[in-house]
């Protein structure tokens, strides 16, 4: 079982773009270990920035994997840039918008924007940007061998794809 940091996929443009949503809930225990206080406001649980980067990595990783129909084992190889400028609190929603910059037999380069939705205003606000690279591990330069089955795109990923109406990508 893999810990998924996206809830559903809401947009998919083949070989170009994939958008995923994460709803942040007060019931999530990990939020309570990450408090932030701004000015005179009381501290409140926030979504850890590191987990937002993981959410974007999962979004961009699915996009990178979809380019070759999940035949490659796509692993996070390098975070070139990750800027998150605001907190996300329970009741808000995170949108990960990932784009392919370049795909090569060795791997893929992606860019992404992170936005938050405050349900009271109904407005999306950009709060972060990422540049993440993925490696196709079977094509590694050192010639290392990995297990034949695709351990990256496990059932957790497949369930999200199926629930989002994208199960056909894995056929």
């Amino acid at each position: 079982m893999r810990w998924m940091w996206i809830d559903t996929i809401v947009a998919y443009e083949p070989d170009r773009r994939l958008v995923a949503i994460k709803n942040v809930s007060l019931a999530e225990e990990h939020l309570h270990e990450h408090f932030a206080a701004e000015g005179d406001l009381p501290a409140q649980p926030v979504m850890p920035a590191s987990l937002m980067i993981e959410g974007m990595a999962q979004t961009a990783g699915i996009l990178a994997g979809s380019v070759r129909r999940f035949r490659e084992k796509v692993v996070l190889a390098k975070i070139q840039k990750a800027e998150i400028t605001a907190d996300v609190v329970p009741g808000q929603c995170i949108r990960y918008d990932a784009r392919i910059e370049r795909v090569d037999p060795m791997g893929a380069g992606t860019s992404g924007t992170i936005e938050r939705l405050d349900h009271r205003t109904g407005a999306w606000e950009r709060i972060g940007e990422t540049e993440i690279m993925f490696s196709h591990v079977d094509q590694n330069m050192s010639g290392l061998a990995f297990p034949e089955h695709n351990f990256v795109f496990s059932d957790s990923f497949r369930n999200v794809l199926r629930a989002s109406g994208l199960g056909h990508l894995m056929d």
Binding site: A77, D104, P105, M106, G107, G109, M133, Q139, S142, G143
Partner: protein
């Protein structure tokens, strides 16, 4: 398209600063990407992608094919690499595909683990210069 060598060197330096977090003063022509500038295997792909962006123009995209700059696609081919060493056929392909790399001292060793050490800042600049002239 002709670009002055100094401009090529300047752009390659920018790419290496970005991809490797290297200091400009350490990016000398003889600096080895791995040993001197700290490049790891994924950094080679990052460098390749960033060079493509840096030298592309709206009129002419600058695309580096797999195996053109670095010999990554040869490692798992038993015709080219046997028991961790480049075969005669592998060495012939290296000489043909990689005029930007100084292979003179590599013929005796041929160990795949040593190939990354052949890539210097100068070899990247030579690669760009040769490719832009094509």
């Amino acid at each position: 398209m002709v670009i002055a060598r100094s401009e090529i060197e300047s752009k390659v330096t920018e790419v290496l600063e970005s991809a490797l977090g290297a200091d400009a003063e350490d990016i000398t022509p003889t600096a080895i990407l791995t040993e001197d500038l700290g490049a790891e295997s994924i950094d080679f792909l990052d460098i390749q992608f960033q060079l493509e962006k840096k030298f592309s123009t709206p009129e002419k995209p600058f695309k580096i094919e797999q195996g053109e700059l670095f010999p990554e696609n040869m490692m798992s081919n038993p015709d080219f690499v046997k028991e961790g060493k480049f075969t005669d056929a592998g060495m012939a392909v290296l000489h043909e595909r990689m005029p930007h790399v100084d292979l003179s001292g590599f013929d005796a060793d041929r160990n795949v683990k040593g190939i990354a050490k052949l890539f210097t800042v100068k070899s990247l600049c030579d690669f760009i210069e040769i490719k832009l002239k094509k």
